[in-house]
Amino acid sequence: MLDIGVIKGVISKIPYIKKVISLKKDEFFIYGKIEILFEGLEKPLSFKFQIFPQYPLKSYDSESIRFINKDLLKYNHVMKDGSICIHTSYNTNIRKKLLIDFNSLKSWIEKYYINNDEDKKYEHIIVSPSLIHNKYYSYIFTDVDYKFKKGDYGEVKLSLLANGIYKEANIANYLVKSFSTQNGEKTECYWNKMYKKNPLTDNGFYVFIEKHPAEYNKFAFKKFNKLETYIPSAFLDLLHKFEKYNLKNSKDIIVPMFIGYTTVESEIHWQVALLEIGNFPIKEEYEKKDKILVPIRKLTDQDIKWAITRNASYKYFFGRGTLVTKITNAKILVIGVGAIGSMIAKVLVKGGCRFVDIADYDIKEPENICRSEYLFNTGITDKVYELQQILLTNSPFVEINIFKKEYFEEIIKIFSTDLRDREHFASKLNEYDIIFDCTTDNDLMYVLNLLELNCDLINLSITNHAKELVCAFSPNIDHFVNTQFEKLLDNDIDDLYEPIGCWSPTFKASYADISVLVQMAMKQINLIYEKNKARNNFIIRTEDDNVFTVRIEEY
């Protein structure tokens, strides 16, 4: 537990702490109040502070010491309760940590209180989401091809994405599908086809007010009437009419009201205030106009119940890292979606690729799951249909089409001897920018080689125990791969896994064994595209005699 004597000892020696006004300890916390004065400050600045019992350790990503002054709300990095938002260095020594934290407070005073510094980085306004009937609501939006103007209002179409648990309460997560303006103009959000087709489940309203709906541009308004000056009266009329019309049949139903504003670089953001039918924050007043009393609708001082909103546009969804744009913008086909192929497809989709088509004739069995991207809860399925769903659930920005299963197993092999048919196949496959052949089918490799494709063809396969991964680029695939497997690699085909019940031995390797190679191969392929390097074939070799090592050998 915290020792108040230690705290007292340390802060009494800090030169810029002019006065310790109070210092006390209850069962868990230490509370105090100090005055700070140093050169640059005209008069002493007082702060309450609170030290949590876990101090000097952090909890929930926050410091376990808080400095509070409610008079400083307008300054940067001051939270609504007046606490200064600081993140300081890690230290487990309580004395050192106290010095670090008080010095951070001093730095904040210099930077933001004295110098009034503006941060270059934009920070979202602070919104505390509300529980309504023990449930949170979230709304996920993306870009649209429409430029909202101040005063625009209309309807929002929503689709329930999933119910879940958020901070140990229920949450309903919605996807914003489209906006319809007051003039009836509809604009769809840039989700992929699958999410666009999601069934419509709810409606809401939007109003674009341009400015932040917040005090000091950072604390979301608490009361509806704070929005009064921003909202056109016609929008209030619309809400009023809607409530009146639905009052009988839909009382207490939650209706989200999207409030839009501009952030940085003309980007827009939405906050959602939750309205309950039967309790809309609208009142009717009468005003004299030309000596006649006319009804005017106004917002009441009802508390705003804010929902959670997130901008999940491509830029933010993939903001933390993608593959290089030459790959993400490419039209890609993955043939063979077993262990390697399903991993490649998933890496591509998680890497931000927008077009990834897949081809495979095979069925997913329960025993495939442990070393591929497939799921157990879907049972026995065609691999392509399951993988399509998995990939689409990973990214709302990728389109996944499925190739006819006969194409690579029958059609292309039967007709590959005919020059004109070959030209036809080549022209179809050349619609892709990159094709990954993960089938390990030597005959298909031979046929694809015959087609002399203009697109990039990349062939991937591994040896037993995932000792090596062989990656070959067109046009040097057939000869390279065959020579490696037939003459150079030490591919152990004696120690295979033989399932009971059917004779179909397969290689032995775990998910980790395979994925470490696949991920490394994708890193190398990404580098080749990024640096426009020669598409040199490569082999990834592993050694696990003492320490596991992986190295790439370029050819």
Binding site: C438, T440, N476, T483, F485, N491, I514
Partner: protein, 322 residues
């Protein structure tokens, strides 16, 4: 070890000898003679005698991939422009052979690919029409202007290029060592699907022999040539004069990054082979069709390690991952 590689490379060259496909070569020759005859008949008075050119004439051909080239020297006043000459030859050959072959306009030549015969062989010929530079000078200087089909190649803006096919052939005459290395580089190029032009590799090999004292066994010579390419091809100021036209620097047909890639590729190959002799088989494979030592069981011709006995056991070359 060096001796092993030397012996292996000798065997490689042996498997690519044209003599292995004498019957096929005869078919080519007979087609070539036939086309020569029809051209002489059609353009009698407008052309000098067509000459055999290309790798066959230079004795650098390999049996896995080759075609026969015929250079057709037109007289200065046969056509108003060399484009008209090129189009006329294409039109004539197309009319003459369209039912027997696919005729294509290529960069400086017209390709004739005869449909497969009863043995399944496709004979292909490249016809290179050229026009003498000055009236009646061809018999003396052998200089010609070739039409450059603009949709091909890097010299897109030019419509013609000067060359001297005879000088190109003479350039490699009596250079037995160089020829062997050129053939090995062509084996590397074709089996590893490299895009580099044979003519470029040929000039690089000849220049390496001129500039360096290259000796030793076949592997040592090949390695020395590859090291020369590695050290020089990407260098600023490096030139490769076309013996048919000294103004034509053939290395300029490569972009800077392609020169860098060729240099690094040579380095990679040398390193791999120096570390592991077996890797020589990857870069310079034997032509399995004519390899007496190829005992592979499946006829794929790659000498698979071990043999496949029971039909239900995966072959040694089994790839995994799907």
């Amino acid at each position: 070890m060096e001796e092993t590689k030397q012996a292996y490379l000798q065997e490689v060259l042996e498997t690519y000898r044209m003599s292995h496909i004498e019957d096929l070569v005869n078919k080519y020759k007979s087609r070539r003679d036939e086309v020569k005859e029809v051209l002489e008949e059609k353009y009698t008075g407008d052309i000098y005698s067509p000459i055999n050119s290309g790798s066959f004439a230079k004795h650098t051909a390999i049996n896995s991939k080759f075609d026969l080239d015929i250079a057709v020297p037109f007289k200065r006043d046969s056509f108003k422009t060399i484009e008209k000459m090129f189009d006329d030859v294409f039109g004539f050959l197309n009319a003459k052979y369209k039912d027997k072959a696919t005729i294509r306009k290529q960069k400086v030549s017209i390709g004739i690919e005869f449909f497969a015969d009863k043995d399944g062989d496709n004979i292909s010929l490249d016809i290179v029409p050229g026009r003498e530079l000055n009236k009646e000078q061809y018999p003396d200087d052998k200089n010609m202007n070739l039409y450059v089909n603009s949709k091909y190649g890097v010299i897109e803006k030019k419509t013609y290029i000067q060359t001297n096919i005879q000088a190109q052939i003479d350039h490699i005459k009596a250079k037995e060592n160089e020829r062997k290395i050129i053939r090995l580089l062509k084996i590397w190029k074709t089996s590893n699907s490299e895009k580099y032009k044979s003519f470029l590799l040929e000039l690089l090999a000849i220049k390496a022999f001129e500039k360096e004292s290259i000796s030793g066994n076949l592997w040592e010579k090949l390695k020395a040539v590859m090291q020369y390419i590695q050290n020089n091809v990407a260098k600023e100021g490096f030139t490769l004069k076309d013996p048919g036209n000294s103004n034509n620097n053939v290395v300029e047909t490569l972009e800077t990054w392609e020169r860098d890639n060729l240099s690094s590729k040579m380095k990679i190959i040398i390193n791999h082979i120096e570390k592991n002799d077996d890797k020589i088989k990857l870069y310079f494979p034997k032509n399995s069709e004519f390899d007496d030592n190829d005992h592979s069981s499946n006829g794929s011709g790659y000498g698979i390690k071990g043999t496949t006995i029971a039909s239900s056991i995966p072959p040694n070359n089994q790839r995994f991952g799907n």
